[in-house]
Each structure stands twice: as C-alpha cells, then as structure tokens.
C-alpha cells in the first residue's frame, strides 16, 4: 500500500478492508471498440486503486464527452459523465466543497483541449486538488474520425480531405504554460509505467495532469507505434526519472544536454566527453523552464525523442485548501454566522402596533 505522504490525501477516509481490482469494476458492460487503448487504461486504474487504499465511496470520477469520458460508468465509485469539456469545472466545484473526496477527471484531447480548453487551463492555474487523466489519441473518435487539436499538421480526415491546417497543441507544454504543478506523460500499453505515474499523480497535492497516449485502433490506429514497437522505442522514448541523468537510445547511447549557446536542450551521443554535461532530471525544480524545454524535445510528427514520466512536480498552495482556510479565518474573526444579526443589519427602525 502506498505511503500516504500527501497531506491532502489524508483528508480522504481510508478503506476499512483490503480492496482488490474487482472491487473497482462496476456492473456495466464496457462498450469501447475491441482493441481500444482505453481498456488498458481502465485495467491499470482499476488495478491501481486498491493500492491507494481509499474508501471507494470517497472516490469520484468526473468526465466530459468523448470515448474516454465513458470511463466513470465502468468504475465502481461515484461518477458523473457530464457535458463536453466541462468536467474540470464541475470537478472544481465538487473538490472545493468536499475535501474528503478524491476527485479524478477523465478527458480526451478534444474534450480537454478544444471545447474545454478554458476550464483545463484555469483548473491548472488554480491548482485545485484534481487528478486529470487526459487520454490523447490525436483524433476525434466518438464523432467518427475528425482531426483533433493534437493531430499532426496535414492530417487527412473526413473533415480535412486535403489535410488539416491546424498546428497542434502539445498538452504537456500547454499544462506547464498554464502553471500546472504536476505534469506527466505515459502510454496506455505500458502498464507498469502508467501505474507509477498514476501513483505519483494521486500523491500530488493540487492539480495533476497526466497525458496518456492512447491508441484509437479505428480512426487513428498506430498513432503511437513509434513509441510502442520495442526496437523503435529504444530510439524514440526518453524515460524521465527524477534525479537521474537523462539518457536513452540503444544501450543508452544518447543523452540530453543543455546547449550552452542557446540554453535550449539538445540530444548528443553519450561520450565520456559529454558525461559531465548530461542533464539530470529535476521534476521539483522551482522554474518550469527545463520541464518546458523537455516537453519540446519530441518531434510532433515522428514522435522521436518523446519524454515520458513526470516532467514537473512542485508543491504550491492548493485552491481548495486556500478556500477552506479563508472560511476558517472568517469564522475566527467574525464568529459563527449569526443570521438574525445579518438580516437586521445596522440601521433598523421599529413600527409598534
């Protein structure tokens, strides 16, 4: 069981009995397309939840609209399948009014970054105690295959027969730019890595954004093959680990260094000469600059040099805590609200019978 170091997680009641993955499966038939990456994520989350050890009734999954947003129906917790893009707003109201709940948002690239972009960035800047799982398949699935705000430029889809014109968002860059205190990326098919990232997110006090690369085998099959194929992955995936030098490639022959001329990051062959220059990953760095630079390493088209893991994890004041504190302070300063006195105000007169 996870060591609960997070002060906020301690506000959520613990499960009395030992839980199993089965406890978190609802009685609803899962209706994603066979082969969808969502199945793997669902299994990973259901498998991870017992480890978290929270009372099931104090866990809430809130989602928007899209394939991924059916997620809450399959979790045997409290859940709300809301409307397109609004899950972070709804979850904000729930989390700030009920600090005894562990609130999770499940969203997709269209839900979070197109129609709900505003709510996402504001949840991140406020640092509400939410765990946001952003399933990124770089396509619109539920509406049958239009390009999404993370699709590569030139994507040919039903709505873009001559190729899409939009430059895509990089969700990790966006989140860091929006003052996120926790940003991570993982991959649907890497159960172990996904679980590690979920654990880190769950323990983080404040908003945690986890981008999960997820395969849509119907409308965008193989979008992340470059990261999944064992041989290719060695060359494409950069595994970030806090406190570790950032190396990747066959035999970890490549390394990320800082270019002294520009301050930007670069990939070099790992030689003895370069040894001292290799960047050591610091997820807790106060400045978001290096995390942002890491988020820009990947080639959006080929996905070469894609970092996964926790980019950034820093502690800063949490919105729900601040709101609760203000209520406490008001209570201390003014005493418990006296409705009779409030209604009467300072300036009254009496009409005698």
């Amino acid at each position: 069981m996870t060591d609960i170091g997070n002060g906020l997680l301690q506000l959520v009641p613990r499960a009395e009995a030992r839980q199993s993955m089965k406890d978190f499966k609802s009685d609803q038939e899962v209706r994603w397309c066979p082969g969808c990456g969502d199945y793997a994520i669902l299994a990973a989350v259901q498998g991870f939840m017992p480890e978290l050890g929270l009372a099931r009734e104090n866990i809430v999954f809130v989602s928007g609209i899209g394939c991924s947003s059916r997620f809450p129906y399959y979790m045997n917790t409290y859940g709300m399948h809301s409307i397109h893009g609004r899950a972070p707003a709804i979850a904000t109201g729930l989390a700030t009014s009920r600090r005894d709940l562990s609130v999770w948002v499940v969203t997709g690239d269209g839900d979070a970054l197109s129609i709900g972009g505003n709510h996402l960035i504001h949840a991140l800047r406020r640092n509400v105690n939410l765990k946001i799982l952003l399933f990124n398949n770089r396509i619109y699935g539920l509406t049958k295959g239009q390009y999404s705000p993370t699709s590569e430029v030139g994507k040919v889809t039903k709505s873009t027969p001559m190729g899409s014109l939009d430059a895509p968002f990089n969700p990790v860059s966006l989140a860091i730019g929006a003052e996120a205190s926790f940003v991570a990326r993982t991959i649907d098919s890497d159960r172990k890595h996904l679980t590690e990232v979920l654990r880190a997110a769950a323990e983080h006090p404040g908003t945690a954004l986890v981008e999960i690369y997820q395969n849509c085998n119907i409308f965008n099959d193989g979008a992340f093959d470059a990261l999944k194929d064992r041989q290719q992955a060695e060359e494409t995936v950069i595994r970030l680990e806090h406190g570790q030098p950032i190396r990747f490639g066959a035999g970890l022959g490549k390394a990320v260094v800082r270019d002294p001329a520009t301050g930007d990051l670069a990939v070099v062959t790992d030689t003895d000469e370069n040894e001292s220059r290799v960047l050591v990953h610091d997820a807790h760095a106060a400045s978001p600059a290096t995390a942002f630079a890491l988020s820009r390493l990947a080639d959006p088209d080929t996905l070469h040099r894609t970092p996964i893991g926790v980019f950034r994890s820093v502690e800063r004041p949490v919105y729900d805590t601040l709101m609760a504190d203000q209520l406490d302070v008001a209570h201390e300063l003014l005493g418990k609200g006296d409705l009779g006195a409030l209604l009467a105000g300072n300036d009254t007169w009496t009409v005698a019978g």
Binding site: E57, G79, S82, T96, H122
Partner: protein, 620 residues
C-alpha cells in the same frame, strides 16, 4: 439672521438627483434613502446609470440619476414624475427635464452652466436665462463655489474640495425635507475612516448645505412627510435592495436546509452584487467561486450540488445563454440547483444597466430537448428574499434546477423590509439517501439512483462519501430506476414524460386575485411590474373603475387555479417589459385571448401610463 420658513406637509414626494457619472449621485441618493428609511417613511427607489463607468464628462450619455419616492403611506413604485430635480450640470437638466411636471422644483448647480458645458449638450442659450424654465420653480445655487468656500480651511486642492459638492446638495435637500442627519455623518466618518481629513470635509460640506437652506431666502418652503406608521405592520424594519435581499435569502435557505451554500459565478451586470455580498459571509460557511466563465460558474455549482451543497449560480441573460447546456445536464441529473437571472435589456449585450423581463421564454424553453425547469419570480426588491427561499424549496424538494427571474429594477431598487423572525423561515431540510432503496427479484438489496419518491417524483440525493451507494449519473438517457445508460425508445419516452410530470406536479400556492368589486377585467402580471400595476389599479379604483388584479410568482408550473381564474374574466390584460412573453404562454396553455401591454425601453412602467392603458381596456 434666521428666516421664518413655511413648512408644508405633503403625503408623498418624488426627488431625482441627477448629475455626471462621476458626481456621486448614486451615493447621494443612497444616503438620502437611508435617512428617509430611518425616519420611517415608506419608500421606493430607481437608480438609473449608464453602463460606462465614466462616460465623457458633461455629456448626455454620462448622466446618472437616482430617483426616490417617499410617503406617509404605503407606496409601490419609485414614482412617475419627480416633484424635485437636482441637476448638477446642464446635461443632467436636459436629460431629465422631460420627466418633470410643470410646477416642479429644480435645484441647479449654476457653476456648471458655462458656455462650453451648455454647448456640449446642445443648449444655444442658458435655460436658466431664456425663459424655458418659467413653468418650474428654479433654485439657482452655485453649489461648487459654495462647497469650495465652505471647505476653505481644510487645505484641500480645489479639485478635491469640489468633489464634496454632492454632500452639499444632500445637506440642502436634507434640510428641505427635514431628514435626520446623524446617519449620514456617521456613514461619512466610517467610509473615510482612513482619511479623516476627507471625512471632515464631506461632513462640513453636508452641514454647509443644510445651513444654506436654513439661512437663504430662496428656499422659503420646506417639507415634512410624516412617517408611514400606519402603512406597516408591527415589526422591525430596515431598507433593502433586491440583490441584497436575494443574497440574504440564499444564506437563509442554506441555514434552513442545513446545507453549505456554494456559489459559482462570473461577474455580470446587474447580478455581480450578489457575488460580492455572498463572498463577504464566509463565516456562514458560504463558498463563493469566481469562475473563468459563465459555463464554469454553473459547472462548479453543479459539481457542488452533486457533493451535497445548496448550489447557486448568479447571472444575467447573456450568462443564462451560456449556461443553458449545463442547466440541461442538471435537468438530466435531477440535482438541486438555483439559477438566478437578474434580467437586463437584451438581446445580446443589450442594455446592461437597464431593466427588462424578456428572459421568460429563455428560462422556460431555452434548452435542447424536453428540459422543463421551474421558474420563480420576485415582485418587489424585498420579495427577492422570499423568492430565494421558495426557489430553494422547489430545487431541494424536487431535485431540479430552478430559474429565479429577478431584474435590474428589483436588483438595484430598494424599499423597507420587515425583518423576519428566524422562526418564520420555512424548514428546508432534506434527507440524503443513506442505504439501499430497492430489492431485486433475487432478494438483493440495491441502490437505484433513479427510483423516485412516488409523491414528488424526486430521485434520491445520494452524495459521495455514502458507503454502498456508489453510482454513476450522466447526461445520456438513463433507464428508469437503475439509472444505467439506456437507448430504449419506450424508456426514453417514459423518462421525458416523467421529467415533465415531476415539474408539472410541483406544489405551488393558488393564485390570489384581488377583486373587491367583481370586475369584468383582470390585469395579470409577473415579476417586477407588481409595483406599477398595483399603483395603476389603485388609481383606477380610486376613480371608480372596477378592475381585478393578480400577480404570478410561479411561472412554471403555473398555479393550479390559473386557468379557472382566467376564465372568470371577460378580458385579461398582461402588462410586461417585453413583447408579450407571459401572454404567449397564457394564450398557448389556456386558449385565453390575453391582451398584451408592452414596454421595452429599459425602464419600469409608470403607474400613470399603465392606468391610462388599463382604463382604455376597461372602456374598450
């Protein structure tokens, strides 16, 4: 030298303070109102100001005014035509002179009647000199000069000293109408507690204005309006505006329901004052969340409702448009939620600071699908308190979003309010679901989130944190009972009809009809037109006409007896500050040939004008 003054005793007076947006007319009016309230008159106010914070100085669009009607008896409106106009500049005179009856008194600040200022608003010659005001009793007062003179010893720059001229005017009017002055002095001391010099200057200007009235011979007459002792039932009173009453109603509902209050809101005129007020009362457990947009405001409120709060979102018409999809979700989730719409002139941005009643059909129908929502409307500023409690009752009892339709006139207008005893407030407590509510064929006890109370058709409110009741709800159609996703045609038809039946079945009091003379004609209103309609009806009855009056608080569902009431009358007239929205609903539902009387100019009806229109309807 003290002049012997004549004192007259009218039963009511209407005063309008008018000046530049920066002249402090709202504050002046507000203070005069507070003095009048504490004196015990009945009163009604109409603040009227531009949407621009500081429109160009001295121009017509920049004129801001505050009208106050006070009397020794109960009154219902801010009054049609002022007896007194205080005009701080030529623009204020020009913008308001049209509303003044001949013989009215005009106090003008002559210092501002410069050639340039006159030209700015299109006066070729000074109206103070060209005879155009001969029909009025004009008091030319160099307010600016007198104020600067009075503040000589304070070491203030001329500009700074000038700013107190509104307090000079207030002092003068306070003398003219025998208003108590202690309240204003205390107020000024408190307001400028950190700037004692400014406080002292304002008080000095205020006193100088008073003394000016007392000593100058130009003001030969002063007026005393006796307290309205008989107009009010026994009790302790205060003055209250609609938005303040609404905020207090929400806090009271939270206490009566024993649920924490959560407000999700985005600033918008004329609703923002409710957000401001509620944010001051965190010691009542009130959480206020200023969202990133209107949609997030209601979204957060809905999330809090899911968690067991008394959830509210406040806005105006444009905000309701943005919130519509979430209101639809709340209809589908069947969670309690208050949507407060302080209506303003529309469409689009419209007239942000002016009043209108044109969101009724938006509240009624402005959603996709069959999405019925109860609608409650307050009729006076103080009534916003009761309307908030009533909206909360319906939301909590029937697990539904409720629209509360106030408007700009009620929001900013004010009147005396009898402070209720807390014991009088309704019990709004609810029971959260705590255990299984259904037994399966095999004997298993389960929780069904959409199993309904047979009387109210409300579903159980099962809040997260309750063991064993874990369930999922959403905007997709759900199976009756289980709440599981269902695309079954017959189930959808059943759920649509059941959601409608739940709203149709809401218990609301019967409509009361005021008809002392067995009239053939009924005037039916809703919302803030209550004051002007009632005043018009009084005039007509005073002149010997028979007319019945009824006023709707509940617009959805309508009172059970409404159809029967409408059928009793030969003619039904519906005055509205829109193009006939209630009339449309009435005609559709009851097949009654209701006649509309409409005004959509951003201002409340005038009683005189309504009386004339109703008289025509009677004689027709």
């Amino acid at each position: 030298m003290t002049t012997e003054h004549e004192v007259r005793r009218p039963d009511r007076v209407i005063i309008r303070f008018a000046g530049d947006s920066g002249d402090g007319m709202q504050l002046t009016g507000d203070r005069f109102m507070a003095q009048t309230a504490s004196f015990g008159n009945d009163l009604s106010t109409l603040p009227n100001f531009p949407a621009e914070i500081r429109a160009p100085a001295g121009t017509l669009p920049g004129v801001s005014s505050f009208q106050l009607h006070f009397a020794d008896h109960d009154i219902l409106t801010p009054g049609d035509a002022p007896n007194v106009l205080v005009a701080m500049n030529p623009a204020a005179l020009k913008a308001n002179i049209g509303d003044l009856p001949r013989g009215a008194e005009i106090i003008v600040n002559t210092d501002e009647f410069t050639k340039r200022a006159l030209q700015k608003v299109g006066y070729d010659a000074s109206p103070l000199e060209d005879g155009s005001l001969d029909g009025y009793r004009v008091h030319p007062v160099p307010l600016t000069t007198l104020t600067i003179e009075a503040l000589k010893g304070f070491g203030l720059a001329r500009k700074e000293a000038e700013r107190s001229k509104n307090m000079f005017a207030l002092g003068l009017l306070s003398w003219m109408y025998h208003r108590p002055t202690e309240g204003t002095e205390t107020f000024l001391r408190r307001k400028f507690a950190k700037k004692p010099q400014i406080a002292a200057a304002n008080i000095a200007a205020f006193r100088a204005g008073w003394n000016f009235g007392e000593t100058t011979e130009d003001f030969a007459v002063s007026y005393e309006v006796a307290p309205a002792a008989k107009a009010f039932p026994t009790g302790t009173y205060r003055n209250i505006s609609g938005n303040l009453a609404l905020a207090y109603g929400l806090i009271s509902a939270s206490r009566q329901a024993d649920l924490p209050l959560f407000l999700g809101s985005y600033p918008i005129t004329p609703a923002s004052d409710i957000l401001h007020e509620l944010s001051r009362h965190k010691n009542f457990g009130v959480r206020t969340f200023q969202a990133e947009d209107e949609i997030a405001g209601i979204g957060a409120a809905l999330g809090a409702a899911f968690g067991g709060s008394l959830a509210v979102t406040t806005t105006s018409g444009p905000g309701v448009a943005l919130k519509s999809e979430t209101v639809g979700l709340a209809v589908s989730l069947e969670l309690p939620l208050l949507v407060v719409d302080i209506q303003r002139g529309g469409p689009s941005t419209g007239l942000p600071t002016k009043t209108e009643q044109a969101d009724l059909l938006q509240a009624m129908y402005g959603r996709n699908g069959e999405a019925p929502v109860p609608i409650v409307a307050p009729k006076t500023p103080a009534d916003c308190f009761d309307a908030a409690l009533e909206a909360a009752r319906i939301a909590l009892t029937y697990r539904t979003p409720v629209m509360l339709l106030s408007d700009g006139y009620l929001a900013n207008g004010s009147e005396p309010w009898r402070i209720p005893d807390l014991e009088e407030l309704p019990d709004l407590r609810v029971q959260f679901a705590s255990g299984p509510n259904h037994t399966l064929d095999d004997g298993t006890e389960v929780f069904w989130p959409y199993k309904r109370d047979p009387r109210t058709l409300a579903r159980p409110w099962a809040v997260p944190g309750t063991p064993g009741l874990e369930h999922r709800i959403g905007g997709i159609e759900k199976q009756d009972g289980t709440g599981n996703i269902s695309y079954d045609p017959a189930n959808h038809d059943f759920m649509v009809r059941t959601r409608q039946a739940r709203i149709d079945g809401i218990e609301v009091p019967d409509l009361e009809v005021d008809d002392p003379h067995g009239a053939a004609i009924l005037v039916l209103g809703w919302g803030s037109t209550y004051g002007p309609i009632t005043a018009a009806v009084r005039r007509l009855r005073g002149a010997g006409d028979a007319i019945a009056q009824a006023h709707l608080r509940h617009l959805n569902p309508f009172p059970r007896n409404l159809g029967e009431v409408l059928a009793r009358y030969d003619k039904v007239v519906v005055p509205e500050m829109n193009l006939g929205q209630l009339a449309t609903l009435i005609r559709a539902k009851y097949l009654v040939d209701a006649h509309s009387y409409n005004q959509v100019n951003g201002m409340p009806f005038k009683a005189e004008q309504l009386a004339t229109a109703l008289k025509e309807a009677i004689d027709d």
